[in-house]
Symmetry: C2
Subunit: 323 residues, 2 copies
């Protein structure tokens, strides 16, 4: 069992790598080798099997094809230009998110072994003039270039699977919070930073009002779910390989109160409320009310409460202890 993680330098990729290192198995088979690929060579991970590191630009077909010479049985394709950057730099987003993803599916197809490919789609595929709650068969109606590129990736994932070229799975990730590390160019970046920075003793700016609602999942749960996505038998997935992951809906205000319950008043005081129209223009197009019926039937799960997300962050990811 050889596993390839594209986007293996990102925080989800690294957490999947560590989880696989801990379990040592995937799909009931011992892992013999792990390949971590990203635009820059990813940090290594201690593991009971060999780990290789690759600096690869998947938007370059030759580089992508060369990467697949490692002959993976399971591929996690997590690499993407995030929403804010894909909106600001249209060509970059198209090149990586559309053509890079196409190159990944083409390279997987060229193996001739029908590898399992877990492609991380996003709840950014929803939006605009659609009814809520969002069901498994709700029209994908993205309101950002990032969302359009993810929806296109899902269509390709399903068609390559239907043709028997790959065994694809395209779970739509909720907003992941509380993410570790630093703020990034994702329009959703604040949905972690307003908790992470205060819990780490720093101030953070919230660009939306407390009544803004989002569909979220913790890093711990998304890693658990993505690994489960690789393990689900193909026959249980049906024809359509894109589906929403389970998550919880909550307003920013409710989430802040959950943080207060776990960590007290001090972190809450470190949030500055300053609405930002550029962020609002993107995130107001997203939809929080999702019923992930298919994912629940497949055994995928959400967090029990946002208090849990705060606790997971304190257990797994906090980098600077609160003052």
């Amino acid at each position: 069992m050889r596993v390839l993680i594209i986007g293996g330098g990102g925080f989800i990729g690294q957490k999947i790598a560590k989880a696989l290192a801990k379990s040592g198995t995937l799909r009931g088979q011992a892992i013999t080798h792990l390949e971590l690929a990203d635009i820059a060579a990813p940090p290594t991970v201690d593991a009971p099997f060999g780990v290789s590191h690759h600096a690869v630009d998947i938007s370059d077909k030759a580089q992508c094809d060369a990467l697949f010479q490692c002959n993976p049985d399971v591929v996690f394709h997590l690499a993407a230009i995030v929403s804010g950057q894909a909106e600001a730099e249209f060509d970059t987003g198209m090149r990586v998110n559309l053509f890079g993803t196409y190159n990944v599916f083409e390279a997987a197809k060229a193996l001739g072994t029908k590898p399992v490919v877990v492609f991380s789609s996003s709840c950014a595929v929803y939006g605009g003039e659609i009814e809520e709650p969002i069901l498994d068969w709700t029209h994908l109606n993205p309101q950002t270039s990032y969302g359009a590129q993810k929806a296109i990736g899902e269509l390709l994932c399903t068609d390559y699977s239907r043709k028997g070229y790959i065994d694809g799975r395209a779970p739509r990730l909720p907003t992941i919070t509380i993410r570790p590390g630093k703020a990034n160019a994702a329009a959703s970046s604040f949905m972690s930073s307003i908790f992470r920075e205060p819990l780490q003793g720093q101030e953070a700016v919230c660009p939306v009002t407390p009544d803004y609602a989002l569909w979220y999942l913790s890093p711990r749960k998304v890693v658990e779910n993505l690994i489960k996505c690789a393990e689900i038998p193909a026959e249980k997935l049906g024809e359509n390989r894109g589906f929403a992951l389970p998550g919880r809906v909550g307003t920013i205000g409710e989430m802040v109160e959950a943080m207060r319950k776990v960590a007290g008043d001090e972190p809450v005081k470190r949030i500055k409320w300053e609405p930002d129209q550029r962020i609002l223009d993107i995130v107001m197009g997203w939809r929080p009310h999702i019923e992930p019926t298919k994912a629940l039937a497949l055994g995928l799960t959400a967090d029990d409460s946002f208090e849990d997300n705060v606790r997971y962050f304190l257990e797994d990811d906090i980098q600077v202890p609160a003052a």
Copy 2:
């Protein structure tokens, strides 16, 4: 007003060219030049304005960019590898239908003039595990590579329009019947040939049973609707630029009886009923029950009866008089 028709050698492209030559105007402005492009230089059309002819492979970015030096105000992008061929030759379908369409949108964007682009999508974007009737917000769930490529083209069309790069419109064409000319590699080819060939005195094979139902539109109406699609003001289209064109639902049996009413018993006797699993595998994934609410509100229209379609064929397109 300069008009470019990509796929201008196809029968719909030629009919649009002739209709524009007759009216002399589009979007309320006099047409000054018409550019007809196709993989082979299209036949000329008599017109009161200049007509140029281009042999262009749109899957070649340089050729596509060069074509757009004609600086069109309105583009009809009708070129495609048809369903049966895109299913049999996956790489060819992806190259032309996905990357060719991307090249067209990119070349239109590069003009900087936000041209109107009418992209012919298809009712092949529907299928699989979806509810009927199909509404404007039904999930696009294609069951063929052709349908997936058209759905991707719609997502691009909407995103390029949202970004202000083009003013796109992506009407989903019903099955067009009765098409003139010869049978082609489209899985739907029989839906014209079983009427066209008998009306022209020849035998034809029907690969489905009489109870097979389809969503159809005549060539005359599709041309009228595509020209209307170019003329609809952008503000009436809303955010989402993909929508089903009006059509009629009928079974092959009902359509054959309509032909009998218009043309008598002899043509009906020339149909040979021979079910073909390869065709059935594709066309049984399509859906005939569509409610094109948005298109009807935009003033687009269907035929009044299949008898009309037979009459239109006899008036406009018959090439060999029936014996």
